[in-house]
Symmetry: C3
Subunit: 667 residues, 3 copies
């Protein structure tokens, strides 16, 4: 467990480096990430390399005990490269180049980008591959899929399709191009989705998104292979930008040793909508799920972010520390704050670092230092611990993308609905693993799989076996609608999993924002929106019925015993209270520990391992909170005091209780 900072020595007078390093060391900083955007300093002109400044910077930091993570600078092709090889630039859907001058101006399929990236990465990794202070590598920065229409992408997309479909006949059939005479009679007719129309064939659009996602994943893999060849024994990671994105992060991280995330929680605590309150928790759970293990925060919020967009509020007192502890509580083993000192130059002058422009420590730095001291103290306890949860939520970039191509109703939002269900678990104090929908799910007490809109036999079979052998599964509306080519299944919804749910959709009404009512468990009425499946239970029992309009009294939520297990089907999108009531009942039925009355904005998490368990209790709000947990007698890892069962938390308050005997504490 270490803390770090992102540092850009090239932005500052070298005369300042020594003092910076001294101060870092004094603040307990053990890691610095360097050089991720420094291509023009490392290779000022084609083929002219200058690593001297970086040698000095690394040496200065290393003298103060700071380990180095080096970034490959490929997110910022320098001006000389763009000038000489304009094919580096992406091309938009009107076939116009996207001009440079800001980072990320590069097409992943550009041969020039590959060639020059290979050269600079090879040089860099050969030079620093065995440097004792360099502990690992970060590829590029916040990789995301381009929507590029250049000739290389056009040819690449064709090749990708040829590999997938074999023949044009198959492509025409699988995409259903017969609609509107879209059939191709020659491969030369197949282009990227020029014009950018959302009206295009949805099978075509989805495959292009997959191709774009594969292109960036391939670019990342190419870097990883090169780095490992020249820097054996050092880790390779990448820092992801938050959700949602069209890039499939599971593919993107396939070639990485562990995941890293750039974590910028909202600073506007007062105005967070209910569904946003727990967005940070989901970001962490998603990140941990990428490799199903602990991860790094490579950029942790240190001040108000602001640049070309207005600055938002500065972090409320206590939140620099509390959000850093939140990262640890959900599985981060290293937290690197972005950035050491706020930049005086460039587009991110107001994306604040730990230090302001003037460089003198202030309130935010003091909070960071407290966190740093505390982590040093707790490092031995944290060592070897991770999260072990009873609940898995299945996340799918495929559904995210397909449901964006064809939004189902006004307000229907895959990620939003996912967040809302995840938030219900956070509110109940139940830890969840968020994993790729294709991952193994054995061993979980409960699996929640929202809107498996695209579905194939492989996943349907996995879910069936899971329930048959005793698992509890929650499925929702818009499951089993399409095959993986974005074409509708011809049977009755939910098609491939109809036997598991024991229910069929008689009719549906895309109610959008026209709020309807539902009664759960016979007596509790709630609101529902977006979508109403009118269900016909076959073997299932009805546990929720509609209470509005022409479908009043029809089944909305069902429960089906299947094999040794149980599957639920939610035919509508519930409100927050309804999800809480529903998942609480499911938790009771599946013997999952929960806290019925956890105050809003208070988050729990448990890290365990090496015979001990650590319970994190965080107050991420601006108000004081009080909660009772069944942890009487446990020691506080921060203060050493014993808990009497009632926990008082100031705004930004953090408590960490140690259960040395590894017995399961009951909330």
């Amino acid at each position: 467990m270490k803390v770090g900072v992102d540092y850009y020595p090239e932005h500052w007078d070298p005369a300042m480096w020594e003092q910076d390093a001294q101060r870092m060391q004094a603040a307990g900083i053990g890691i610095a990430r360097l050089a991720e955007f420094a291509w023009s300093r490392l290779e000022p002109r084609e083929g002219e390399y200058d690593f001297g400044w970086l040698d000095t910077a690394i040496a200065t930091l290393a003298r103060h005990g700071i380990d180095i993570v080096l970034g490959t600078p490929t997110a910022t092709p320098p001006n000389w490269l763009v000038e000489k090889h304009p094919d580096v630039l992406p091309v938009d859907s009107k076939r116009q180049p996207v001009y440079p001058g800001v980072r990320c101006h590069r097409c992943y399929n550009s041969p020039s980008l590959r060639q020059y990236s290979e050269r600079i990465i090879a040089r860099l990794t050969k030079h620093y591959g065995s440097h004792p202070a360099v502990i690992g590598w970060q590829t590029d920065n916040e990789l995301a899929a381009n929507d590029c229409h250049c000739e290389h992408c056009t040819r690449g997309f064709r090749a990708w399709l040829q590999k997938k479909y074999g023949s044009l006949e198959n492509l025409n059939r699988e995409w259903g191009t017969v609609v509107w005479s879209g059939e191709y009679s020659s491969w030369t007719q197949v282009t990227t989705p020029l014009g950018g129309s959302p009206h295009l064939n949805p099978s075509f659009l989805l495959d292009f998104q997959r191709f774009s996602s594969d292109s960036v994943a391939d670019f990342n893999r190419f870097q990883a292979v090169l780095i490992r060849a020249n820097s054996p024994g050092k880790f390779v990671t990448h820092n992801l930008w938050g959700y949602p994105v069209t890039t499939d992060y599971y593919d993107l991280f396939d070639s990485m040793d562990f995941a890293s995330v750039d974590y910028y929680p909202s600073t506007d605590l007062a105005n967070d909508a209910k569904s946003k309150v727990y967005h940070g928790a989901l970001t962490h759970d998603l990140t941990r799920g990428l490799k199903r293990k602990n991860y790094w925060v490579m950029e942790q919020l240190s001040g108000t972010p602001g640049c070309w967009h207005p600055m938002s509020r500065t972090p409320f007192p206590g939140m620099i520390r509390a959000h850093a502890w939140q990262s640890v509580s959900r599985g981060a083993d290293v937290v690197v704050h972005f950035r050491w000192r706020t930049a005086r130059i460039g587009a991110e002058q107001f994306w604040h670092g730990l230090l302001d422009h003037h460089g003198e420590p202030g309130r935010r730095f003091a909070e960071f230092e407290q966190f740093s001291r505390e982590t040093q103290k707790l490092a031995p306890l944290l060592e070897g611990t991770t999260l072990k949860n009873d609940v898995a939520m299945l996340f799918s970039h495929e559904q995210l993308n397909a449901l964006r191509i064809q939004p189902q109703s006004d307000g229907f939002d895959y990620l939003g609905n996912f967040k809302q269900m995840h938030a219900a678990f956070v509110r109940l104090g139940i830890g969840t693993d968020v994993i790729n929908w294709t991952e193994a799910i054995d061993g979980y007490k409960l699996v929640v799989a929202p809107s498996l809109y695209l579905l194939d036999d492989a996943v349907a079979g996995k879910l069936r076996r899971y329930v048959e052998s005793g698992g509890t599964l929650v499925l929702t509306a818009r499951t089993g609608v399409k095959n993986m080519n974005n074409v509708c299944w011809p049977g009755r919804l939910p098609n491939l999993v109809g036997d598991v749910t024991g229910v069929q959709v008689d009719e549906y009404d895309p109610v959008g924002r026209d709020t309807q009512h539902v009664v759960l468990y016979g007596d509790q009425q709630f609101d529902c929106e977006q979508w109403c499946d009118i269900l016909e239970p076959l073997s299932a029992e009805t546990i929720g019925t509609y209470a509005s309009e022409y479908f009043s009294g029809r089944a909305a939520v069902t429960r089906n015993r299947f094999g040794k297990g149980v599957s639920y089907y939610l035919g509508t999108v519930l409100d927050n209270d309804a999800y809480r009531a529903f998942f609480r009942r499911v938790a009771e039925e599946t013997s999952i520990d929960f806290v019925p009355d956890l105050p809003e904005g208070v988050e729990l998490s448990v890290r365990s391992g090496n015979g001990k368990r650590l319970l994190f209790v965080l107050n991420l709000t601006k108000e004081s909170k009080r909660t009772s947990l069944h942890v009487r007698g446990l020691a506080s890892a921060l203060t050493g005091g014993r808990c009497d069962g009632v926990i008082e938390l100031a705004p930004g308050g953090v408590e960490i209780f140690v259960d040395e005997e590894a017995h399961r504490f009951q909330f």
Copy 2:
């Protein structure tokens, strides 16, 4: 009177066709429209034709007594055509091509489009021109004007202008190009409105819209001529998309035998704004007015529409039937539902047909079947009937386009204002014909002509003669502002019709959304918006005065005896209640039958002919409605029962009363 479906056999396994045909026949379906988008199947490669599959499909349907309407597939140029002749694509106002991949990617003035369209239409019409099952043809699909700036459109526009204006000197004078030095000194300087700026000369912009509208009308006429040459004795129609559009539909349908409309009423009954409730009625009245006779619905809503945009609500129970009867009540002789079965493939997978993806009949299909059975029963009664109304509303694409180029005030909307006045008639149970503003109007008791902003002597003379010889005319603010070249008349408003109205506009205030007040008939106060003409009555009497601001007490609405008739002038845009009060009074004065207390959302219509009259009473809302009409003793055509004068209508309720003696029933 027949019912039909739109059917795409090419989207489905041929093995399904026979069962589909059987089911259609069982459901009473007598017509199927086919092949409208099937170019790539009919001509898979340039010059390679394949009509075999369509022969089979037609034969299968014909065996089950189903007549065929064939569409020309020109809305969907296939990929091979676009690849070989990119001039097929429209060009935008920045001179960039608009890329293909979705329907309607064609410039009507492209020589390649014409050449290849001619070839496929000629082949198709020769092959099927005399086929006994083929009863008629639909040209293209939902034709609409392009805003195309390709070289062919540029040259075509120049030629169009040369023909209209003769010389560049005339063009410069008539357009007033002297403003801002826009004078042309050579025809080569005349282009389409590149850049797309709304700041351009309004005379120029209006002529370009006319040219664009003429281009599509010409493309339609070219098809009609070709079809008639090869398929004599069969009808030619076209299916229009709803209002508003820039294309002049009267021109577009000039070459057609009768009009057809694609009717997709809003499914969101609960949230319809007041002015939208009666939008469907206006669509039908506009369609009937195109050729001033009965028409077809070529696509009738069968389920929630949805595709790249979110699905809206599914049709409320009863509405599949009720809206189909609404079509018949307003003059449709054939109703073709779109579509038989919901597509599994392509961009319209969620634009629902009568059957869902799974193909099993459900609630919506049952409603359709009821309508089908009922129409079969009532066909003899309906035969030879049509609508004969006392009121004409004059609609004008010229005004629609000119008022979009120069919106008069915040919220001023030609079509919206037209709708609002039309809705007042529907609410009063008064049938209206909606006809082209240049049509003959003799014989109507009342003519309403909203905002004849562009006006020439021909129309002004027609209106003058109509009133002189005893007609009652309603004119409104923004009448007589401009000549047909979109240049302001130099006299006092309303210029050419000032003598008819007996009033002149002293001053006007474009009040926009700054609501003002008006008192009608001395004691009823209402709101008004958008525009306030401050009127100076010359020979007219004042029947409405303003009751707000500095023009309080000034004339707002006037009535003028002129010759044997009367003309009204509405100097402002009234609210719904005011229009109802005003038109009720006008109806009384002109002996037009009306229902003072018809519930909102209940629509009346009368079809008559062959010595009988049919009164349709429809409840197009989600609530039950009750109304009293003076129809005691009339028989219900649906149930055979006699009416006792009070009519109870369930949501979606339909009643049809027969007056066999053809005496005029009084409401």
Copy 3:
């Protein structure tokens, strides 16, 4: 003191000119501006000049005693020029030409534009340079910076940078291009900001805006030099369009003899937000400040403006006159109404003139005539008078542009905040000079300099000396953030003026629209928004403290004695009431005369000179207003009556009191 009209004889039949001139003379019109857009009439084809029509028009007007101001027609390059030299057109940030057809379609750096502009201006000025009726010249029309990316602008920008920075090394250092590898290794890599991304380097973006501003100022200067060479002794002015703009108007008017403004006050009096009420006053104060002397209104509102956008309300009765007097009251010596008669043709058909399309005088014309008669009567009194104010507000296009490139917080708006402070002075009846921030400020009792975000030693030194020698200075949050290259200063805010304010910013919170509270002078609580500097007073005293959130009790507003003077620092953006309370207190402390209870919408202004003072009292609202001023016994210049101290003003009411003895009246 004269009144005038903008007149376009080329839009009207020459047969109408004589009558127009007679009517103008009868209405007291002494000036007409002509020919500003008439290039295509003056040079119908390349090298073919036709000045005959203009000779006639000028002769006709001159016969009726009307002096002529001639415009150069360069805002409207004719079609033949664009056709022959497409480089006249600007090029957008995607390198696409911006197409013609509307005015302002020209790049100021186009060699063709310069060459052809030079030819037409030379011809025109030689022809009319000594014409006795021509009293002066207006350059172009409402010049504004282009965002042009053509090859000439690209090369021009490079040359501009080479001149400013000398070497690429300096450029890279001063812009901080090292961020994101943006370093240039060759001048050929330096382009305009292609792509138009707001993410680009802010130093780069600001310099490009300066270059664009310099380009238009240079184009204006080029015209002025040419005009003066051929028309010695005649004035040269330019008519500016309203604020805000990116062009630096101080530079633009550097080459002009005096400033002119096009003044179109909002006609929507009822819905004016509080901060907008006094926008007109600010426009006039800004215009007067351009050359620090009296100015012309070259286009004064005469009716509702409308063209491609909807018409707004017509001027409320009285406002044509009242707003014209407002112009005079703030320093206009000539008011030219736009336009004589509303155009029948072209894009501005509904931008109403004094006369409607029909040409008969109406209400608006009558108001104009009253103003015209009154100005003739008062001309001797007004002669030689101007405004002499105690307060200067420092305006800066540099801050405007830099704060747009990087908006500081949600809602933070340099011009809006400036307006709000200016409005507080208007509300208190205190006259303010609004001058360039680099101007000399000696002699003012109070100087207010909002958000000097960019700051250098020159201005900081000027402010320091001003306070040291006894001045009172008000500074605000976001002062001293950056150097002139848009790079952050490394010290503690407010950096260069920290000694003057005696305060330093401990921390800041960009609160945006999250309203906070502040207590001024110990007992008055107000709202504040946008930004909260949490202040650490060093030598300053605290006169305002926050009363919300974690910074409650910390200093928000401070007052510092420095040398013989005082400086205030406002750490937050106050609400209107707070500004009024604050500036009232400052006015008391600095012995500046103010009116504590002036009704909202009533404006005061004083013109003085030649031993007399004229007090203008204007009611620019739709309601009657009453105010008491200490002017008992003064004579009304309009009516001759003596004031008894209470002034009753009808809507649009105007009073002008004469203080012949030039003693200072106390409000």
